[in-house]
């Protein structure tokens, strides 16, 4: 079999270019294997992130032939011998080669008020939650923080909106907290304000790239938008919220 040609972005914030590498093919090879081959045999300075090589840690995000994907989950033979271009994800500032500065995401996460059970629940040792109570949350909890959804969200990507919108990843995170049967906080003020949920216009681009197949818009963002609207435009609910203490159960 002929060598597989890769065009890999090499450079840093100051600039850079694609560089060509011919990598010997191997059965079942994924793009990450090729990057490792380049490091071990051609150029050990090629910077990329990875941890698990099993699509579980979300470290190896890149744009492969223009499409945001995990390098460890992208089979080389899917491209049928055509050259493969690998670039860093675009939405975050470039550090070097395929590595970007994703620290903004960690700052956002810290702004989200953490899981907060009631005082009574905090005291009791064992909780009862039925399978039905928790199963819809599992989808959100599957997020591996690959930030591919952040990469394609046009609020962040085209409009450089990191100062306005937390991005789909953190809508998923907030949804997991808001819909947790034992959580007592309401985060709709944050969503309406700093979180910027209003900027999302439900194009679903994020959903398309999620390697965990999380229905980001249908199951997280739309219900959160509804809650936010309720809380902000429905005085009756706002009153309930002020005096009720516990969150009343709400739809999806």
């Amino acid at each position: 079999m002929a060598d597989q040609i890769f065009h890999v972005f090499r450079g840093d914030a100051k600039g850079g270019d694609l560089k060509e590498y011919a990598v010997p093919p191997m059965e079942g090879m994924v793009v990450l294997d090729a990057m490792h081959h380049i490091q071990a045999h051609f150029d050990s300075t090629l910077a990329c992130r990875w941890n698990c090589k099993a699509a579980k840690c979300g470290s190896c995000s890149a744009e492969i032939n223009g499409k945001p994907r995990l390098m460890c989950k992208t089979r080389v033979d899917d491209f049928h011998g055509a050259p493969i271009t690998v670039r860093p994800i675009k939405v975050f500032p470039l550090l070097k080669d395929l590595v970007t500065d994703v620290s903004w995401n960690y700052r956002v996460n810290k702004e989200i008020p953490p899981f907060t059970p009631s005082a009574e629940d905090a005291r009791s040792k064992e909780w009862r939650m039925t399978p039905l109570d928790v199963e819809r949350l599992f989808e959100f909890r599957k997020c591996i923080e690959c930030f591919l959804c952040q990469d394609v969200c046009h609020v962040l990507r085209e409009h450089h909106g990191t100062d306005r919108y937390y991005g789909p990843r953190f809508m998923v995170r907030i949804a997991a907290l808001e819909m947790h049967p034992k959580d007592t906080l309401t985060r709709t003020d944050l969503l309406a304000g700093k979180g910027g949920i209003g900027y999302c216009n439900i194009t679903k681009c994020c959903e398309e790239v999620c390697p965990e197949s999380i229905h980001i818009t249908d199951n997280a963002i739309i219900p959160l938008k509804e809650r936010t609207a309720d809380d902000h435009f429905d005085p009756w609910r706002a009153l309930l919220r002020a005096f009720g203490g516990r969150k009343e159960p709400r739809g999806t």
Partner: protein, 579 residues
């Protein structure tokens, strides 16, 4: 302080942000001291994120007969009696509390119909004991701890690699390393250091481990004078992927067998019936791994030298629900639909039972101020770790180490002195691959090491083979004095590999030296020239320690259980080696 490094200062420095490091950080912060946490990767990416099958804790939710005493017995038998029984006792008693705590911090587990945490069976656990979330338990655990930790007032330093522990006389004074992004050197001054750096599966080529598992913490502890224990005990998980070559070693979780998966040889025979008629496919890992190895040796292996693991007799929807990432992994990476065809599997390096010797209750090593928890610490698992016992190990002993480190620093007056000469020596070592006249490629040396480990320190060992391996290793260590890389210090993987490789070469030496001495077969250590368990050796732990600049190996008596605990281990026979 010199101007060529940055300086940070904490009461307690935690090295590692896997389950153990995060839990230790939370506990230390709870103790009211300042805490810094350092990790090589981004937060939330540590090896722990890959754990799949579950976390072992005797909640008794599914099998009400389960309790800490049974868990104690299973763990001691699983470890073939060279475990530190005091650690096992803390562990079995405290694991349930630690699991409930995760739930109180927002973690979510699969549930029983009446709303409690669901538990699944795993190898050599008497009852259904593994709390889980499908097959992504590690992710759930790390996310829960991560989200808890970032609100605890600790400082997190991501993508920073520490390479040397600093000492003030006998005691710990902090650690030295570099920032990956910039290559800038950094000194962390601290009164206590908790190592939670995980294992060293990357010594081997066929491994389920992430890139971080190069044993840095263990090697740093050794350099700082700590004792390493039971280094010969390296776990082969019986089921790793074997085909295609790109995926070789990736784990096939034990949960597949927990959910009813069956191993067969090329003749279709359920061979575990022969090796362990009672527990069969759910026997302990050492036994199953060896059995697969024996089948392949006997010519009954699969096309790529493994066994078939079949779960097709279960309902397709149930498989996808209970083992979603396994389904996806085989579908994506190997073009196999596991609801229709069997998986081809073979043993893969997975876990290390050996590591830094610590005091059972506190996690303190023999170096004052140096603590260790999680996979880097030794003692809990003895000669073989039971599945699911690692995740509970992380939170039980992570918490204990963090707590005791905080307590310890309260008794330390003033910041220990940092000796710039130590930092300078390490800087020289780190920079040598750029400056010296060496010509060795660190990746080639790493491959060389993996070849030696595979040939001489694999699943089946002999004294002669181990000695040959050690000789080759010493020659490779000499080659590693002449590493060379190009480029700058900015995010330079080749340069990072240079230090990692040297750590691995140190630990490999400890594995060989301990394995040569242990003249018996026990747990994961299978000696063809001493195929039986030996009662005398069953009373000994191996210790490797640096003395006069060289590695010395000796033994240490296994702590003897009081009768009331010894009683808990009887009842069921210890499965003997598969000869």
């Amino acid at each position: 302080m010199a101007d060529w490094y940055d300086e940070r200062q904490y009461d307690v420095l935690i090295v590692g942000a896997g389950g153990a490091g995060l839990r230790a950080a939370i506990a230390a912060a709870d103790g009211g001291v300042s805490v810094g946490l350092v990790c090589k990767s981004l937060l939330g990416k540590a090896h722990t994120v890959m754990a799949e099958g579950g976390i072992a804790a005797a909640l008794g939710n599914v099998d009400s007969q389960d309790n800490w005493e049974v868990h104690f017995g299973d763990t001691m038998r699983g470890g073939q009696m060279i475990n530190d029984y005091r650690m096992v006792e803390f562990f079995a008693k405290e694991a349930p509390e630690r699991v409930y705590e995760l739930e109180h911090w927002g973690g979510l587990f699969d549930r029983t119909p009446d709303g409690r945490i669901l538990q699944r069976p795993f190898g050599a656990h008497t009852y259904r004991r593994l709390c889980h979330v499908g097959d992504r338990t590690g992710l759930e655990m790390i996310r829960t701890l991560q989200d808890k930790a970032i609100h605890c007032g600790i400082d997190v330093h991501m993508e920073v690699t520490l390479t040397r522990l600093l000492k003030d006389g006998d005691r710990i004074a902090g650690a030295f390393g570099y920032v990956r992004e910039t290559g800038r050197f950094v000194v962390f001054r601290a009164k206590a250091v908790v190592l939670a750096t995980g294992g060293w599966g990357k010594l081997y080529k066929v491994t389920s481990n992430s890139w971080e598992c190069t044993g840095d913490g263990c090697a740093m502890a050794y350099e700082a004078g700590a004792e390493l224990m039971d280094m010969e005990m390296v776990q082969f998980h019986p089921t790793g992927m074997v085909w295609p070559p790109g995926v070789k070693g990736i784990l096939v979780t034990e949960a597949v067998r927990g959910e009813g998966g069956i191993l067969r040889n090329s003749e279709g025979e359920r061979f575990m019936e022969r090796y362990d008629p009672v527990k069969k496919d759910l026997s302990s890992r050492d036994v199953v791994a060896r059995s697969i190895y024996k089948e392949v040796q006997a010519g009954r292996g699969t096309p790529h030298g493994g066994a078939w693991l079949e779960i097709t007799h279960l309902d397709a929807e149930a498989i996808k629900r209970k083992l979603p990432s396994m389904w996806e992994q085989f579908h994506k990476l190997a073009d196999i639909d596991i609801t229709k065809s069997p998986m081809e599997v073979a043993p893969t390096i997975h876990y290390v039972m050996g590591g830094v010797r610590v005091e059972a209750g506190t996690g303190q090593s023999t170096v004052p101020g140096l603590f260790a928890a999680g996979e880097v610490a030794a003692g809990l698992h003895g000669a073989n770790r039971l599945g699911g016992n690692s995740l509970s190990d992380l939170i039980v002993f992570g918490k204990r180490a963090g707590e005791h480190a905080a307590q310890y620093v309260k008794g330390v007056s003033g910041m220990p002195r940092v000796d710039d000469a130590q930092a300078d020596e390490e800087r020289t070592l780190l920079r040598r691959p750029f400056e010296g006249d060496g010509s060795e490629n660190p990746y080639a040396v790493h491959e060389g090491l993996q070849a030696i480990m595979a040939e001489h320190a694999g699943i089946a060992r002999t004294g002669e083979g181990l000695q040959q391996g050690l000789d080759k290793l010493l020659a490779l260590q000499a080659r590693a004095e002449r590493l060379h890389v190009g480029g700058s210090m900015l995010f330079n993987p080749g340069w990072h590999e240079c230090r990692d490789v040297r750590f691995m070469l140190t630990l490999a030496e400890a594995i060989f030296r301990c394995a040569i001495e242990r003249r018996e077969s026990r747990g994961s250590h299978w000696r063809l020239d001493f195929p039986d368990q030996n009662a005398d050796w069953g009373q000994k732990n191996m210790i490797a320690v640096k003395e006069n600049g060289r590695m010395a190996v000796r033994t240490r008596p296994v702590p003897q259980m009081p009768p009331e605990l010894a009683k808990l281990v009887q009842g069921q026979t210890v499965v003997k080696s598969v000869r």
